[in-house]
């Protein structure tokens, strides 16, 4: 073996194709006790690599070694036995089982063939304490946990194993700031214990905090590996995209039109309390806040997706009575939901069917119209696909999101509500979405964006409203906002409550 002595993982000539090649002659070296970042556009091959290492996918060709020993897992447990654990992007928790059962499902402690509840609980408590969830009762059903907590339980399960290489794929997408801190603390501890970590994320600030080196993937190949400290963000973005790209262009001055959407004293359950705001045509309003501040619930209540307990919604000066989403669409609203797979897409159906879903009208389908409308959508949003008849499940996350947004270009929506429109979306697709939103605003549409990424809101919005604990606590204009002020406002509801 030619690799240096401190090499833990060595990948050479790795190839994997599905319909098209995803990894092509891929090489990678990860050192012992190193936190190694993988960045790249969606579809660059990061997740595929992670899945091959973790035994969830087979390779077509190539060599993988751990400390010089060949690593050829045929399924997940085999990879775990070799010390390689992948924390999945999608959660893998069984909701009806208890936390303890979830943690040790593969090796429940038993006595005389029966589950040894006491031993199970003790083991679970120890594992939970490691990830800062010591206060949880191990008998709680996993369904009772928030998404972030579930993710930490997954991490606890991974750590309960003898782990030598931990692979994290977008781990913080669903975590609160506090949970993210716990995760980072664990990663650093593991590093001190000599564990190597592969960390896949789009979030540069996180990578900078915990990673030693970063490898950039593009179209199934590794195009560069740099020490994290020496890699500037513009440089990384350029490597990912293969061309220069402005990450955050300055906001543009638009002339806002008349009030397009006016929400007054909206209440919905405990999550939304007395929320009022207005958006004008041609204006982009951002809604910032912590996870659980009621932002998603506000959008859903406006759109009629959830019950609304009070308040009024006026669209272009006309009072509305929205009881279900179809009323909202008829009134000129559009919603891009937070979870595109569950709430946005018909995954097995084609781009054409998904792209025209919001524009179905009359009695018969006009196939030619659909085909041409889909072609326009694909072109305008630069959707990467082979054909409009391709199932959207085969697209990358960014391209899927383009379809969910693009769907609303067909009906003449006046107000676009977008919930985390770029979550899990690669950088080039993000830029395409930003460009589209600016164009739509220039066309006079009113846009409301809920996002957890402050740079995104600051780059896009004409105004940012901050929600905290179910209320809008303050609105900021561009000259007023700073990341610190926005963050401080997001916590305000929790300080007074």
């Amino acid at each position: 073996m030619s690799s240096a002595p401190d090499t833990f993982l060595h990948v050479r000539g790795l190839n994997k194709s599905f319909a098209a090649p995803v990894l092509r002659d891929f090489d990678l070296t990860v050192r012992v006790a190193e936190v190694h970042a993988l960045v790249g556009a969606n579809g660059a091959g990061k997740s595929t690599l992670a899945r091959i290492l973790a035994g969830l996918l087979s390779r077509d060709a190539g060599e993988i070694t751990l400390l010089g020993q060949p690593h050829e897992p045929r399924f997940r447990r085999q990879a775990q036995a070799a010390g390689v654990t992948l924390m999945l992007q999608e959660l893998n928790v069984l909701p009806t089982l208890s936390i303890a059962e979830n943690l040790f499902l593969h090796a429940l402690p038993s006595r005389f063939g029966l589950v040894d509840r006491q031993a199970l609980r003790a083991k679970a408590r120890a594992a939970l304490a490691r990830v800062g969830l010591g206060h949880l009762d191990p008998d709680t059903p996993a369904a009772a946990l928030g998404v972030g907590q579930q993710q930490l339980v997954e991490l606890a399960a991974a750590l309960a194993e003898k782990c030598r290489l931990l692979i994290l794929d977008e781990p913080t997408a669903a975590l609160t700031a506090r949970e993210t801190e716990t995760l980072f603390k664990n990663i650093q501890q593991l590093q001190q214990q000599g564990v190597s970590v592969i960390y896949i994320s789009h979030r540069m600030d996180e990578l900078r905090r915990i990673c030693d080196r970063v490898s950039v993937l593009r179209d199934g190949q590794r195009v560069a590996t740099l020490p994290m400290a020496e890699a500037s963000t513009p440089e990384l973005v350029k490597l990912m995209a293969g061309r220069e790209m402005p990450t955050h262009p300055a906001p543009r001055q638009r002339q806002p039109g008349a009030v397009a959407l006016s929400v007054q004293q909206l209440c919905a359950g405990a999550a939304v309390q007395d929320v009022s705001f207005e958006v004008r045509g041609g204006e982009i309003l951002g809604i910032s806040g912590l996870v659980g501040a009621g932002r998603t619930e506000t959008l859903r209540a406006i759109f009629g997706a959830d019950r609304c307990d009070g308040g009024s919604i006026t669209i272009q000066g006309r009072a509305t009575n929205i009881r279900q989403p179809s009323d909202a669409v008829a009134a000129g609203l559009a919603l891009v939901p937070e979870d595109r797979k569950q709430h946005g897409l018909l995954l097995p159906q084609s781009i054409r069917v998904n792209g025209t879903l919001a524009a179905l009208k009359n009695i018969f389908i006009r196939r030619d119209d659909e085909t041409s409308a889909t072609a326009r959508l694909v072109e305008r949003l630069a959707v990467k696909c082979n054909s409009a008849e391709q199932a959207v499940s085969t697209l990358s996350g960014g391209n899927q999101q383009k379809i969910v947004i693009g769907r609303w270009l067909l009906p003449d929506s006046k107000v676009l509500l977008l919930d985390e429109p770029t979550r899990g979306v690669d950088v080039p697709a993000k830029e395409a979405i930003y460009k589209l939103l600016r164009e739509l605003a220039d066309d006079g549409k009113a846009i409301v964006i809920v996002s957890s990424e402050l740079p995104e809101l600051m780059a896009l919005c004409d105004r940012i409203a901050v929600m905290s604990a179910g209320r809008i606590v303050r609105e900021f204009l561009p000259h007023e906002w700073t990341p610190e002020k926005l963050t401080e406002a997001a916590f305000r509801g929790h300080l007074t409550a």
């Binding site: 995954l347 879903l357 919001a358 009359n362 018969f364």
Partner: protein, 314 residues
């Protein structure tokens, strides 16, 4: 054109199974490839075709309708009582039978949508209720129709085709057209694929679902008329287990039980496969237990084969 060929390939596999069955029974029995067999099959299929078409639509929206057999019996009972005891004219009685089916289907759909009860449970309840009502309507007796609706089951101009068969084929064509060319068909497929996403795309899902259940009921009502015509009687015991045959036909035709995918034409071929099996097994003298054994095995085989075919395609 490519799309057409692709579609045809879906049918081709099923047609192949059908042809193989015909060839098999033809070689096993000298009497199978005769006009008499064809007549008997053609006579048996209209009822199952109509009911299975409705079932396919319900399965496509991700629901299930277990009540179709009982609803068919109830509609037949109403038809018999109106014709025989009340001396209503045929057309009105037939309309009333279909209306009974629509009402039952509407009830299923309404409870499903408004009270948020899973369709499996609602229609399981309707299965019992409609059967009970059928017995009450007829006083648990078979009504002999004395040739009042026979015309539906008489061969047309010496051909081995009855008006009932024509009606069934027409319904298949219309339903398939609705699925692939009408906006409501697209909405049905969308609902079956992902109801939450469909709702959030601004589609009112409730009316579509109620429409589909009502259609399934209406088709059970039409099925009742065809069945009564063939038997010359309306039997409150009729249609027992029909829901399972209808599901079987749909599943053989590749309809997904989890919704979002299905073809009425494929279901029709599924009906033909089941009918051919029954007729062929009867011809070679298979006993009732053996018939059931073989039919069950064919259902499983057809679905397994379909799965393998798709895997090899992708």
């Amino acid at each position: 054109m490519k799309k057409f060929l692709h579609r045809f390939r879906d049918y081709a596999a099923l047609v192949l199974i059908l042809v193989a069955l015909v060839a098999l029974f033809g070689s096993l029995s000298n009497h199978f490839l005769t006009a008499a067999t064809f007549n008997s099959v053609a006579n048996r299929i209209p009822t199952l075709t109509l009911v299975a078409t409705g079932m396919t639509l319900v399965l496509i929206i991700g629901g299930i309708d277990l009540s179709v057999g009982s609803v068919l019996a109830l509609a037949a009972a109403v038809l018999g009582v109106l014709l025989v005891d009340w001396h209503w004219p045929l057309l009105l009685s037939a309309l009333a039978a279909v209306a009974v089916g629509v009402a039952a289907g509407f009830f299923n759909g309404f409870v499903c949508v408004k009270l948020r009860v899973p369709s499996f449970i609602v229609t399981l309840g309707t299965l019992e209720m409609a059967r009970g009502l059928a017995y009450l309507t007829t006083n648990s007796q078979t009504k002999y129709l004395a040739g009042k609706v026979d015309a539906l089951a008489q061969p047309i101009a010496g051909l081995p085709i009855t008006p009932a068969t024509l009606l069934a084929v027409l319904v298949v064509v219309a339903a398939q057209f609705m699925l692939s060319r009408a906006v409501i068909g697209r909405k049905m497929i969308a609902i079956g694929t992902n109801e939450a996403a469909t709702r959030l795309a601004g589609i009112a899902t409730a009316p579509v679902k109620v429409f589909v259940f009502a259609t399934a009921g209406a088709l059970a009502g039409l099925g009742a008329i065809c069945q009564s015509a063939r038997l010359g009687a309306s039997d409150p015991n009729g249609g027992v287990g029909l829901e399972l045959s209808a599901i079987a036909a749909a599943v053989i035709g590749g309809t997904s039980l989890s919704g979002g995918k299905g073809s009425v034409v494929c279901t029709f071929i599924g009906v033909l496969i089941i009918a051919t099996l029954e007729a062929g097994l009867a011809q070679i003298g298979a006993s009732e237990p053996v018939k059931r054994l073989v039919t069950g095995a064919v259902i499983v085989l057809a679905v397994v084969a379909d799965g393998l075919r798709k895997k090899s395609q992708s």
